[in-house]
Subunit: 465 residues, 4 copies
């Protein structure tokens, strides 16, 4: 898909008494599936045993009835879950999360959304000291650091590890009894806390809390470690907060019904559409969203412009995951499988609204489709600025050389995608729509949480040892 | 799902020279998946062999790479495909289509959308005469009739069978060389013809033609038999046409980008929304569609009313097919999995638009959800009349006793679903929006193509022999 | 495998009260797996429903726990089962048995061991009369005949069908209440009856009766129809018996612990070995059986000759079913996978005993292996005559042109396989060892139960319609 | 199965040029399947990447064509393989081998047959020092030791690890270029070296070398480390040899065509049978082996006694792996599935020969079966002494309290199994038959390679951390 790819969603649950941790985490994962579709995993414990099931695939492919039954063998009280978008090849099953290790703390499990920018030098040092790694993820570096802090209780060990790790990350950790949540001092990735009748839940986005039967309580604060002690939520502000949450969560990633650091995703998107009209009005007949990513901004654009919103593009809900077709003919035909124009656009001047342009190939196809279907003009409006820089905090924005805006001017992009006019929302417009300090590094190259020493490996993938 | 269920989508392809029939039919099936999600099948032939692959499940579950490869063993020139919604239990693999039989014509394959209302007496007679059946479908009755007409060429045999069969049906037939299409004299179910560079294609809806690389040519006419002879399309008007196509195709079933008997589905839906406002305006702040079924009508309602359209409900695209959860707690939580309210509805008077109400349970849950999310008022508007009667022509409208409108008045329904006001579009409004004679039997009980002698078996399922 | 292939094993069970028909038939099938390894199936009924599960593969591959559970949904009172060796390609799933059809008798299921020699003309006539076939098996012809005899009770209909069908066959039939067994007038294929505490069982070989908890009662007689009426076993001698049971059952097919028409397989094999020594003694040090087919005859040869029996060949029990290797190197190495010589043969003059030679390729490899392992001389002794003719009664003896003895003299065979001496047991020797009239058609071309009119299709496979 | 269970078979291959390592190791594994049937795995490398595929199940279940293809993606030059019998529960997929870890040596893979008796204290120390473990196997302890010796070349690191590890073990190690083999100073478990045209192979038993196209060269010596440097085999005698190879390899585990430390398994078994007759003759008519374990000894017993060898028990080759039946009735019937008596025993005084008795339950069933089949007397002869002690070197002899001979006298065992007479071969008899110093610890409790400090965990399983 020609969209920036989130690298993960994380979930945790902790109950005073046994609860159906596997079932609740499974539901929660389905609510976070949009954050990662390449692997899924759940770990649960009853205080004595800790079981993990994970595999490549969508949540519903990985969690067959049989696999859930295996987890349900335990009368679990706590657990973690993970939905993953991995950037380095589909056969790397060993990189699926939760990662686990048997350590002086006992067995530990970890799930992670984000990236450590200093994972490589840390890993090199650990290897020289005799460590063994099972995966090529930066996540495992934290697990190894924790193993070396076996003399400390788990929350304190996590706090010590935070002082060493750099980057943007939201993490959940567990052993057989305890659950620990932590968020980097910039709060780049989201992490919300929910209250259960007799326990607590954690999730990348609040709608997943609701699916686990939890009520939204608050977000984990930047730089904070949170854990459950007895039946109380304990907290330590380990590092001073300096919040710059990722703007892309509001632009595209988060569900429209998510509340992130106090700001509703749907409202922010509508405001982006309104700002977009203010900055770049178009003389047109109808507003057409690219489903589903452009829908919130299209509402805002329609509201400000007074133009009618029309469903000019049909999105086939069954197009999802089809394997690659062997012939060029089939591949060409397949472009019509996912999106198809409706009669709404015939003879119309269309304002087409999308949230972002990454490679430009899909945008080009959509513009072509609309023209074939009889649209008289196509005015492309994008509710975020051009993406020009890689993200080092957990998003795969495609390799820099594939970013159309890293290489081309707005006019060149317009010509490539074949629109009559093209405009992007300004950084200032994004900031106003969200209403607070945010990370805009992928647009402006200013990285609030540091960059890897070695800039070459743009995706931060640790090379195989 | 609490919606009327279409019983099938059908596809056919015929080329002068070999073409990738399996690959093209697979793409076409993905474009018709909305018409049937319980079983899928493809038959192809190279003029010498005829291969069939079919199974219970979604198209992408049934057609793994391995299964497509088995079909691709042939350099096929023609083929059929089927997506099925079956009403009689998930383990009936032998009812999946294409059905095949070895007969005096050679091997025959058949796919079918619709129902024969006189299947039972025909089957009883055939059994007494020594026939053997493999399935409990009415479709097989036609196959048996064809076997008895082995002295006639296939198109003529099909025409003879049409004179005997009653009901609403669109059918595609093949032997190893020929493809034959037929549509009942009332044209209850749709069937479109497309032209390939060197051949022809057939599909329940035109968007599936595009996926097979074919250009829409025309619809098969009510009462017509169409076949390919040499490289020419041949036709015979076997029975006098008396067109009353199913209104529900425009109301709900067909894709919004479908053109059926000359009328665009999207335009018809927008007009239904406009009629609905004219008939039942509401004092409100925003128009919210139930995604995705209410979207077209919501555009029309917003257009006529001047109220803004807002995405007040988020539909999780990954909620699709989750197996049934074992505990009541999980089942309750799961109702939030598929649809969740966004912040758009908070403090608002909402006009909620859907295409129909079958059992009312989902509508009730949605209204409740909107209120919990802070909607001040909920005015429910339905872009079709109350469903009160069973369909005998290929749609499963739920058993009559489950139809909320068969038992309750509009006011009683309103009270049940908890809306502030409720209104349904009138039959006249539907007719005006579509613009021609249509079958409205599920609303008014007037059946243009006859009814089964035995009214008890509401679903026309042939009891097991 | 370079051995004649049996085409099937059949099983049936009938209880006065519900019994675990699926479980018992599954165990019985495992005891008959040697008779057919390409497909397996079970049908059961509780008097109201009839369920079938079948697929390509070994019994344990087909009957997963899940599939057995599906059958166990019924509280079954009766059922059939089949293990199949098919001769016409592994993808023909639709030829797996039990075959079923819905007829004027209700639903019927059938399993079959043997072949009808007049299947083709019968099928051609039925097709002309409008019949439909689902498979390309001769078995289905009987099903169609029964459908035409719907006015008769099932046992009488079966008797009528027997008068029309020619060839060698043992058949079990069921509808939802009744079980019927029949055996051709020559009794070519075996069929035994067993008594359950409250019911009856049928099986191709008595050891399968034991696995179903039944005690061996007697064999179905040649030309007899047997069925259960009330709780009594009923019988009709439909055709005059003229018994010539297949000699190969004693030579190779049947389990060594089987009792067939009153003669123990193990004893017959030992006597064949004794006859073989009498006819063809060898000056040697040790007797080595080819495991497992030569083991009984080796005991007899050792007994008569006074030479010690040694395990000179190890058979790897895990070599079974490995998919075909992609390189010639691996295929060559693989010949040592199944059989490997032990140190017993080093420096020895070996009498190597096998039951038969079909293509000669395996025999040649074994002789070569023994010489490499240090055997000084290899005297090959075969406990049956050279196979020169096809079987028309249910055994795949390889196409005639692949039969080494159809083309070559005994001396030429000896030279090909590289043995120092070679001898086959005489027809007279076989007859003496078994002790009664037997079918020896594959050795001498005298077919007691007729031949197909069309001799070309040596395997009797019905060409695709 | 009521037999001592070997814990593993190991394989390695190394070529100067690319060879089909995955295909050759797959064939080799099939030749070692008898050493472990619960999990299988293969690791291969082309010098740059190292791939592993492993899972629970038989070799042919784990290595589907798809999985082999994944390994064949590399043009591999070297690789390892493992067939595992695990003692601690079937769901422990993470304990399947090869185990791998990314270390300062790069990625390492290891396979292991045997046990380290000091694994627990070593692991405890490593954990305190911050190590992380992925499995609960003792094998991983060696991997961790190697990671700490990253400053040494791999063969030297392996030698250092050997100085620390105690117990009985044969191990193969690899990184992306090198293959290293090692065997404990007592040579408890076997390990043979083979020569390829351009490379070397290693295997637990020589017949597996043949399957990989290698010629048997010699055994790895007790206490030796062997590796390939350039194209030469290098060796270091790290610890002084004190050979006491496991007697059970000759008694039961090894294939009959194996040559272990210079002694043929088949010959040793025949001599055990001869010794057994000398020590415990029986007045009988026939000698019947329990297939397949008693076959070699039965030949020896028959040879010395002059009694004829008969196949009195049929072993169903398809009985292998059937899932557990749900009812007691089926479980009872199932005992006849695997073994069934033939007519050979009727009216006879039988000497029944088996290699060992562990729990006695199977022996009891066999004796009962023979009597039911008409045997007049059953004289049970066992070609090894009573097993009274656990093995700490890689064999699962069942928990001590389940060993019938740990609790009962020979006379009590005889009474339990229902034989007329019972005799076991003496330790001295075993030693004479093999002809050298051997480990007889499971018979006499004298452990040549030490015992775990903590005797409680009889199976050496490391408890979960």
């Amino acid at each position: 898909m020609d969209k920036p790819q989130e690298e993960c969603g994380v979930l945790g649950i902790w109950g005073e008494a046994p609860l159906d941790a596997a079932g609740l985490l499974h539901l929660g994962l389905l609510a976070l599936q949009h954050r990662g579709q390449e692997a899924a995993g759940i770990a649960v414990s009853d205080g004595k045993e800790l079981l993990v099931e994970k595999d490549l695939g969508l949540v519903n492919q990985v969690f067959t009835e049989e696999r859930l039954q295996r987890l349900r063998r335990l009368e679990a009280r706590l657990g973690l879950a993970h939905a993953r978008y991995s950037t380095t090849g589909s056969n790397l099953r060993f990189n699926a999360q939760p990662l686990t290790a048997r350590t002086a703390h006992g067995v530990l499990a970890i799930v992670h959304n984000g990236n450590f920018t200093n994972a490589k030098p840390l890993r090199d040092r650990l290897l020289r000291e005799g460590a063994t790694f099972q995966s090529t993820t930066d996540t495992e570096v934290m697990l190894l650091l924790l193993a070396r802090l076996g003399h400390l209780p788990l929350p304190q060990a996590a706090a010590e590890a935070m002082r060493v790790l750099e980057g943007g990350y939201s993490i959940l950790l567990m052993d057989r009894q305890r659950l620990v949540a932590l968020r980097d001092p910039h709060g780049v990735r989201p992490l919300a806390i929910g209250r259960l009748p007799q326990g607590y839940a954690f999730a990348s986005e609040p709608p997943a809390l609701a699916l686990m039967g939890a009520e939204y309580l608050r977000d984990v604060r930047p730089g904070e470690v949170v854990w459950v002690e007895g039946d109380r939520l304990e907290s330590a502000q380990v590092l001073p907060p300096s919040p710059t949450p990722c703007a892309f969560e509001w632009i595209y990633f988060a569900r429209p019904d998510s509340l992130l650091d106090g700001v509703e995703a749907y409202e922010a998107r509508v405001r982006m559409g309104m700002e977009l009209f203010r900055e770049a009005p178009a003389a047109a007949d109808i507003v057409v969203p690219v489903p589903d990513s452009g829908m919130g901004a299209a509402v805002g654009y329609a509201r400000s412009s007074g133009l009618p919103l029309e469903y000019g593009l049909y999105k086939n809900p069954y197009a999802g995951r089809t394997f690659i077709q062997p012939t060029q003919e089939l591949r060409d035909l397949k472009t019509r499988l996912k999106l198809a124009p409706t009669s709404a656009v015939r003879g119309k001047r269309v304002v087409l609204i999308d949230d972002s342009i990454v490679r430009g190939t899909t945008s080009r196809r959509i513009v072509g489709m609309l023209r074939e279907a009889g649209a008289r003009e196509v005015h492309f409006r994008v509710s975020s600025p051009p993406i020009r820089f890689p993200c080092y905090y957990g998003i795969d924005t495609a390799a820099r050389k594939e970013l159309i805006a890293a290489e081309k001017s707005v006019e060149e992009i317009r010509a490539y995608i074949g629109a009559d006019t093209l405009a992007f929302l300004s950084e200032e417009g994004v900031r106003r729509a969200i209403g607070g300090p945010v990370c805009l590094a992928c647009f402006n190259g200013r990285y609030p949480a540091g960059v890897p020493g070695d800039r070459e490996g743009e995706k931060l993938a640790l090379e195989a040892i």
